[in-house]
């Protein structure tokens, strides 16, 4: 058996399997969901959950095997490229082939995606239990994983774009999973539309690259493959800034950065495991991954790099301030996600791609743990999401509390949890490369992060219970299938710091273009910074605990005193309203009055739709009356026709 497998499965076959497992399980689950509408969902749900979780787990195992095999080969770079499966399309002498590529960066990403993804799938078994769309849920979740893996493992920019669009689609499906609720369906639509705006930037970037490559013979036949891009990045130099900015616009859409972050908080309308998988651990990191993947392009344009860094830092601070005021536990986590993504972009913007990716990894751990913990709380409270209606849950949900608490420590950057290493690394890189202003923003944000996370912890788990009496009796710890992934993720967020050096060393060859050696390593300074930032975080955590557990009256009085600022932040700086006023309404007005009433109704319908039948009818009547049915007439017409033809040709 093992020999058979060893003989017949090659490395490239294995990489294909990584992608195909989720696709297969998704297809089976879609089939099951069709069956479930006929036989009732309870009959198929055990099959659906089994198949739905086996897909990601098998995929994870494949990635792990690939990882160990490739790192096991001494002395060679751990990169494997599958041959092209087939030529997707070609134009001129260029072609785009469907192929996958497992190098250091995509291996790390794929491990995170499939690993965290598998845990979340397992968690979903319990969380979605009893939902009518059980099979459909797993089908869409698996499909999402498939597209995410295509995005991560693609060996060319266009295939990556396919995955990029695919995750957007699945995100739309999953946010609007409970589409009977019009608000939730609308949130899905919003996410989709905002993402499309970013995707437009991505497409423009692709076109610009194509434009620059056109006419260069040395490019070879496969212009969009990452290898070609890396080798020939020099040709893009003249347009590097616009290309990178356009691509970064795409990344902003996917990774929820200013100004396109507005969809992410609304996306919390989906089931909580979906929020954990898509809007914390995987899809939103696609933008970060893309910038890291194309680091050799971004390096070419210092302006684009600075833009990335400043937008990242701005988003980090901005989202953190909103996070402080949110009442909904999932919204707090949503803004914290945006803020943490900002950190990653900040790191990439200053050239520390490895730090960005490392933070991506640890963030996947602790944010997934936080979301799943929040999901566990919501599940226990039967859908209650308001922090001010919780409290004292530590007693009822000890397991959830432990995992959530550890993850909160991790995200706040407290030693020795995972977030400390990655966040500190980012801050140090930013500082040591001379961006002191950005460092200050990051430092303040770190304090805010610690504050709002422990605000959430205090409100939800500590203090006195604030929920109604009758509800209190029903609170119960979640089932094993939910608790196990939660605890595992908690452990990972505790121990993720151990991965720092291996990951960074492993990734370094990918970012060879970005390595800068013009600064002196100040080991002592770095340590001092680390200690300061730990105290800073702990200080804010304690402040949050004091305010929200010991003196619950303080926040109210503070809010009273600074009512204006409070209102401003509480309403998320009115960004949604501003967008609506400036962008959505004018477009709506224009489409309704100018395009629909002005153009479509009068011109297209009036002249085109109703006019053309008239012309056809007229013509048809003439032709029909000539069809008299008399042979003599026909002969006559034929002779006329003959004369016309002769006249035409001969004369």
């Amino acid at each position: 058996m093992i020999q058979f497998i060893l003989k017949n499965i090659s490395m490239s076959g294995l990489i294909w399997l990584v992608v195909l497992f989720p696709l297969a399980s998704s297809a089976i689950n879609f089939f099951l969901s069709i069956l479930s509408s006929r036989f009732g969902f309870r009959r198929v749900s055990s099959w659906a959950s089994f198949i739905g979780t086996m897909g990601p787990i098998l995929s994870f195992i494949s990635v792990a095997i690939i990882f160990w095999t490739l790192t096991g080969i001494e002395g060679s770079e751990p990169v494997a490229i599958t041959g092209p499966l087939y030529q997707w399309f070609g134009f001129g002498n260029w072609q785009v082939e469907i192929g996958l590529r497992a190098d250091q960066l995509s291996q790390v990403m794929a491990l995170v995606v499939t690993g965290v993804g598998s845990l979340i799938h397992i968690y979903s078994i319990g969380y979605m239990d009893g939902d009518e769309g059980y099979a459909r849920y797993f089908a869409e979740l698996n499909l999402f994983l498939f597209f995410m893996l295509v995005l991560v493992l693609a060996d060319n920019l266009l295939l990556m774009f396919v995955g990029w669009e695919g995750v957007g689609l699945c995100s739309y499906l999953l946010i609007g999973f409970w589409f009977n609720d019009i608000e939730k369906a609308r949130a899905g639509k919003k996410a989709f539309v905002v993402n499309r705006i970013g995707d437009f930037g991505f497409i423009i970037g692709i076109f610009l690259i194509w434009n620059m490559f056109a006419g260069q013979d040395v490019i070879g036949a496969n212009p969009f493959s990452f290898e070609t891009l890396e080798r020939n990045a020099v040709f893009l130099l003249p347009l590097a800034t616009p290309i990178c900015l356009a691509l970064f616009a795409g990344a902003c859409g996917k990774s929820a950065q200013i100004p396109l972050y507005v969809w992410l908080p609304d996306a919390m309308a989906g089931p909580t495991p979906v929020s954990a998988l898509i809007h914390a651990a995987t899809m939103v990191t696609a933008g970060v991954y893309m910038v890291a993947r194309l680091n050799y392009l971004f390096i070419l344009s210092p302006f684009a790099m600075n833009t990335v860094a400043f937008i990242g830092a701005g988003t980090a601070l901005f989202a953190a301030t909103i996070g402080v005021m949110q009442k909904d536990i999932k919204k707090v986590l949503a803004y914290s996600t945006i803020s943490q993504l900002g950190y990653m972009f900040m790191a990439e913007g200053v050239g520390a791609f490895d730090a960005g990716i490392y933070h991506l990894v640890t963030h996947a751990f602790f944010k997934a743990a936080l979301f799943l913990g929040a999901g566990s709380v919501i599940h226990a409270l039967h859908g209650e999401q308001d922090l001010f209606k919780m409290g004292g849950l530590k007693k009822y949900l000890p397991g959830t509390f432990a995992a959530f608490f550890v993850a909160a420590l991790a995200i706040s950057g407290i030693w020795p949890f995972a977030g400390f290493f990655s966040k500190d690394k980012i801050l140090w890189e930013v500082y040591s490369r001379g961006y002191v202003g950005l460092w200050a923003i990051g430092f303040i944000t770190a304090g805010l992060t610690s504050f709002y996370m422990f605000r959430a912890v205090s409100l939800a788990f500590l203090g006195k219970p604030r929920m109604p009496e009758e509800k209190r009796a029903h609170i119960h710890e979640s089932s094993v299938s939910m608790l196990v992934p939660l605890v595992l993720l908690g452990l990972l967020s505790a121990a993720g710091g151990l991965l720092m050096l291996p990951i960074e060393h492993y990734l370094l060859p990918r970012f060879a273009a970005a390595v800068v050696n013009n600064f002196e390593p100040h080991k002592n300074l770095e340590n001092i910074f680390a200690i300061i930032s730990v105290f800073w975080a702990v200080h804010w955590a304690i402040v949050a605990w004091i305010i929200y557990v010991q003196k619950p009256s303080w926040p109210v009085s503070v809010a009273e005193r600074f009512r204006r600022i409070y209102k401003l932040i509480h309403n998320k700086y009115y960004i949604d309203e501003i967008y609506s006023l400036l962008i959505v309404r004018p477009i709506k007005w224009f489409t309704e009055f100018a395009l629909w009433k002005g153009l479509d109704k009068s011109v297209v319908d009036g002249v085109g739709v109703e006019g053309s039948p008239l012309v056809v009818m007229l013509f048809g009547n003439v032709a029909r009356f000539s069809q008299t049915g008399l042979a003599a007439h026909y002969l006559f017409f034929m002779v006329i026709g003959l004369c016309v033809v002769i006249g035409w040709i001969v004369l």
Partner: protein, 479 residues
Amino acid sequence: MPLIAVLGAAIIILLLISWWKRASGELLLIMAVAALCAVVMFSWNGLLSPFTVIDVGFPLMAAFDNLSYLSFIILAIASFLSLVASYNYVKERGQNFGAYIVLILFALFGGMIMSCGTNLIAIFIGLETLSLSAYALAGYNKDLASGEASIKYFVLGAAASAILLLGIAFYFGASGSFEISNIRLQVMNLQAEVTNKNIFLLSAALIITGFGFKTASVPFQWWAPDVYEGSPLPVTTFFATAVKAAAFVAFYRIVSSMIPVTGDTLMQAFYVIAVLTMTFGNVCAIYQDNVKRMLAYSSIAHAGYIMIAFVFMSRDMIAAKEAMLFYLLTYTVMTAGAFACLTMLKRKGVNHELTDISNLAALGKRSPWFAFAFSVFLLSLAGFPPTAGFFAKFYIFKSAIQNGFVNLAIIAVINSLISVYYYMRPVVVMYFGSDQLPRVSESTDEEFNYSTAGVIILCMILVLILGLFPNAVLSMIGM
């Protein structure tokens, strides 16, 4: 060999039915089908063999190249489909099936002579063999409409033949030969003598008229709707597929030999003919309540699309040939399928054909598979992917654009948009009731019969294969 197979089978069946009056229809059908299979097999062998036999000597005067072999195959398929579909049709009406088979086989023989002939006289003889059988077939139903169709076809056909013969005579006068392959040698001479060239062009015009009649192109299409409507359904199938295919192939051969002399002059004429033909066919088809007549007009429209291949023939001969053959093949299959579906529509004790659109009402509920098959054929005729019709149109239009006839392609696309309307109408009626027609149908009950159902299934498979794997067939044509 394919020719001998057909001729032999025709003569044997003829002798058999004259001596043995009670020969069963099944036996004769099996013999005829065997002959057709032999044709396909021999042609297939010939297609695969690298040699091209050109025998310009007296008895044959024919070229056996891949154009001939492919058209043999198309003709054999068309004859096969109309023969098998007609088995029940003829039997129910108590007609003589033996004579029917013989006529079809003789017509097929004529068509094959036409498509492989290299001599205008041989082509003309083939054409007449085909036509005479066709006249008889048109009148095979002993009712008024059928007789009228036969007479009308005969009178107009005779006039067209006369014109064609006149054209051949002028051709001889201009070139000194009936050989169509000889002409290329005389190109030099002709360009020198203007008078000669004018005579040559005159002959071209006359020949276009003659073949325009056979292919039912505007302005020589007048007979087509009446004859198609009046003839028995399987015979209409045969007219719309085999007769048309043979005429187009022979036409192609003659025009391809003329092009070196005439240059672009013919192209303009074909341009106008193509545009007029497809527009006329499509526009008239819109008004028809009778599905059979509607399909007759649609057949005119499709002739117009095929004419596009003749327009760009002077630029790219090979592409024109490939596009034309592919179109003929797919058109044969889908039209035969659509007509076979109409043949299925009948009621107990009623012998006349039920081809009015109201008879289709609610067919989708009564026999869903049948309605589905009919819809597929109509969709294919309208040119929806992934059916065969889409790729047939696609290749013709693509080649037209590649050769610089963008306007023509746009006109053709607009035409196929118009055609969607009338092709979809039966579909709408089948699935959504009565289409506001005054007579809501007296219920029709489809009697299942295996021969027609077999034809429908076969056509369906072919339509889907041609639609899904067009490249395989195209590479075969391009061999």
